[in-house]
Amino acid sequence: MWIAYFCGFDGLAILRRLKKQSYNETDKQDESILTDLPECVKTADKAVVTNIKVLTPEEILELKSDSDIVQACTATLNEIVITVLHDNENTILSSLKVEKEMKRPEIVSTVRDKIVTVFDNKRVHHSHDNSLTGKLMNSAENQVLHAGGTDSTLFLVEEKKLKMIKVIPEISLPIEICVDFCVSEISCGKEHALILTNSGDVYSCGGGSRGQLGLGHVETREQPCLVEDLTGVRMKCVGAGGWHSMAISELGDLYVWGWNESGQLGLPCRNISTQSPPAEERHRYQLASPEPADKATGTWFTCVHLENTVSGQCEAHIQRVGPIQVQSEPTILDFGEDVTLVKVAGGARHSAVVTGEGHLLTTGWNDYGQLCHEDVLSRDYFQSVDYFLQHRRTVKGVFCGPWSTIVLCQNYLRREPSGDRNRSVISDHCFCTD
């Protein structure tokens, strides 16, 4: 059984509208609302959320059968789209209005504040006026394989070609760039794009003023550039946040680079760590600078917030370096010996990773509770999320909206030691990020 949870900013009533769409609580005469979500898909039966900060993970979707698959998930500040495959039928769960009997889009993404959907791998739509398919923005001649959007530009990946469509001040004609690699994944921040190739290389392009391109400088690059520092290892997935970048190697290590102003890289940062922890709270602070402390930067400490956790299994992975504001070259994080990472996602100023063990770890800006730690304290270190450990949920996937986190879990209790091969195949390949 799969469950999806939501944490973070909901000032625009996403959760209420999500529930409304699926339960058809709107006017029954409105034919355009999707009325027949299959029985297997049900959304949470909770009270209407009026809070702008969702601190405790809120159930938004439940898939009863193990053969159901979450195909894709994407979110902006005020909208969510989740596509589900059930019995080869397509189901879309969205806070936006979905046309009845609409096909499932092959690709969902975002650009600026809109949701982008691609149908038949050719027709590219963006949301408009509360409708998911809103307006057609581009009809491609060739197959669109992947899509990703920054604050100004939609990137469409075709075979050996990259198409860039500016959406502000209005939708412009695409600019095409030919590339000599095959793309396996694309992930975009506010100004930059990360591209993962089939051979495990990472390319980046776009704005780089926060070092998010990982090329050792803070300049802009219009053309995709190879991130040289990562060429020694094969990468298996990438995730871009607002102004930061992350990649997981096939060995399960996390590499991070870009802006760290709120600790989103999981590295100590000035805005959160301090050189003079208050005396009466000293016991809650841990060293967050290299030991012995670097003479130029001095000794820094970060406040560790594990006191309210219940499961007893929470960990805080403090990296002893810095403090760092801008990391312009990829650096590897230390999660301890036995931890391998399998999924990564970035929000505007926060990050989330999933381990092979099924644990979720988050770091960064937390003013809206997007880190899922049930508080609003930002962190500059990855900390495991107690909620899922407590409730014995195995985390299998994570997606981020700008100020939110969507967590995909499998019911822990159903993971039987007999190791059902089918199930493990599903859990590895059941969804794509963006």
Partner: protein, 422 residues
């Protein structure tokens, strides 16, 4: 509602539609943001200040992200108007929802931070609404019972440990560095030249010169209002300013941070927390932000020799050891020392090639050469570049011709005011 609250509300337009007019053009603002701001204003104008505060936050957070996307100069100005309006609404809500009968220091500090962030990130609207609000809050605070007691106590406390280091009114060339000026290369001094003399001998020839005797009438320099750390704290202590942290802006560890003037003085000038990095309140238009300080300085008469009316005035305040690496500016400059001393070296534009400017867009006005430790192997021509230098003392004014390369290092706690004109 109290009289104070009414006064504050009168500074803003009296209805939602009036406030929204502050946004000149909505074309570039995202619908989702306009929706949030609309909800916020609705709450504000029906008197639901508690909800308005809640709703203000995402508006400011969203706008902040837009202001940080792409190059600052490319950001549509309407985002900045929105940031100003949001900050104005938030500051008033914070005051009104504070249930205590009097404004205490913590609330004043918090409100000042909100307004200053708005000033720094936003753009002026409704006749500098944030400045007017700041003035009103400042009056409310000065009149509040709590502030009178706190300030009395503060003056006594400060009198006690009056920054033992600065007791001697900024000792000259203190500390480990002794710089000897080569008399061949020393920039000449000239006492109060007439406008004509200055123009013909220095401005037209692009020749640097130190002008003396021109700051005697500055209230900042002489008289009861002359600037000391205490006086600066009393005029600007709570105000938020951008501080550069790190050895110099060409280094990797360099970063910018916002803090109050009092925090800056405590951390980087008095160094009470044992901080090892250098902090520099550099190139900041402090005098636009704090009118009281603007009154203590006088724009040099010679600026009228330029063709443009506008003079950019910047403050440069920091401890001993702040460095501005060799760079050039597009305008003529009068660099004045209110207190403290600075070592300055100049290279004329004849030697632009010799100083190897960076090739990147961001840093093309900055030299790659480290003046204090030049790498002659990477920069061979640098050996042949001739320069002039000086130690600029309190009360002196250095004329730096436009585009002349200059390197500046403070030799003591220092407060400089620069006037850029054309």
């Amino acid at each position: 509602m109290s009289t104070n609250s009414k006064t504050l509300l009168c500074i803003l337009p009296n209805c939602k539609e009036g406030l929204l007019k502050g946004i000149k053009n909505r074309q570039f603002l995202d619908d989702v943001l306009l929706e949030m701001f609309n909800d916020c204003c609705t709450a504000f104008y029906i008197g639901d200040f508690v909800s308005a505060i809640e709703l203000c936050k995402p508006v400011l957070d969203y706008t902040w992200e837009k202001l940080n996307t792409g190059y600052w100069k490319d950001v549509d100005v309407n985002w900045r108007y929105l940031y100003t309006l949001g900050s104005a609404v938030l500051s008033i809500c914070k005051y009104i929802t504070d249930t205590r009968s009097d404004m205490d220091e913590d609330l004043y500090r918090d409100i000042t931070k909100t307004i200053d962030t708005g000033i720094l990130m936003g753009a002026p609207v409704f006749d500098n609404v944030l400045d007017r609000l700041m003035h009103a809050f400042s009056d409310i605070y000065k009149n509040s019972v709590k502030s009178v007691t706190v300030n009395k106590r503060k003056l006594i406390d400060e009198g006690k440990h009056i920054d033992a280091k600065t007791k001697k009114a900024f000792p000259s060339a203190a500390g480990s560095e002794k710089i000897i000026i080569n008399s061949d290369k020393e920039i000449k001094r000239c006492y109060r030249p007439s406008l004509e003399t200055f123009k013909h001998q220095y401005l037209d020839n692009h020749t640097a010169v130190i002008l003396t005797g021109l700051m005697d009438h500055w209230p900042a320099v002489n008289g009861s209002k002359s600037w000391s750390l205490d006086r600066i704290r009393s005029m600007a202590g709570h105000r938020l300013v951008p501080v550069e942290i790190g050895s110099k802006y060409t280094e990797e560890n360099w970063t910018q941070s916002l803090m109050t003037v009092s925090e800056f003085i405590e951390k980087f000038i008095n160094n009470s927390s044992g901080c090892t990095s250098t902090g520099y309140l550099a190139q900041h238009q402090l005098f636009d932000q704090i009118p009281e300080m603007r009154e203590d300085i006088i724009i040099p008469d010679y600026c009228c020799l330029g063709s443009e009316d506008e003079v950019d005035i910047n403050a440069w305040f920091g401890p001993q050891g702040t460095v501005s690496p060799l760079h050039q500016d597009p305008k003529e400059n009068f660099l004045t020392q209110v207190f403290g001393e600075k070592y300055i070296r100049l290279y004329s534009t004849d030697f632009t090639k010799h100083v190897y400017p960076h090739e990147t867009m961001l840093l093309k006005n900055t030299s790659q050469v480290d003046i204090e430790n030049p790498d002659f192997e990477r920069f061979p021509l640098f050996r042949n570049a001739s320069y002039s230098e000086c130690i600029l003392k309190a009360g002196e004014m250095l004329y730096i011709p436009k585009e002349h390369w200059h390197f500046v290092k403070s030799l003591s706690i220092s407060f400089s005011v620069s006037f850029w004109w054309k």
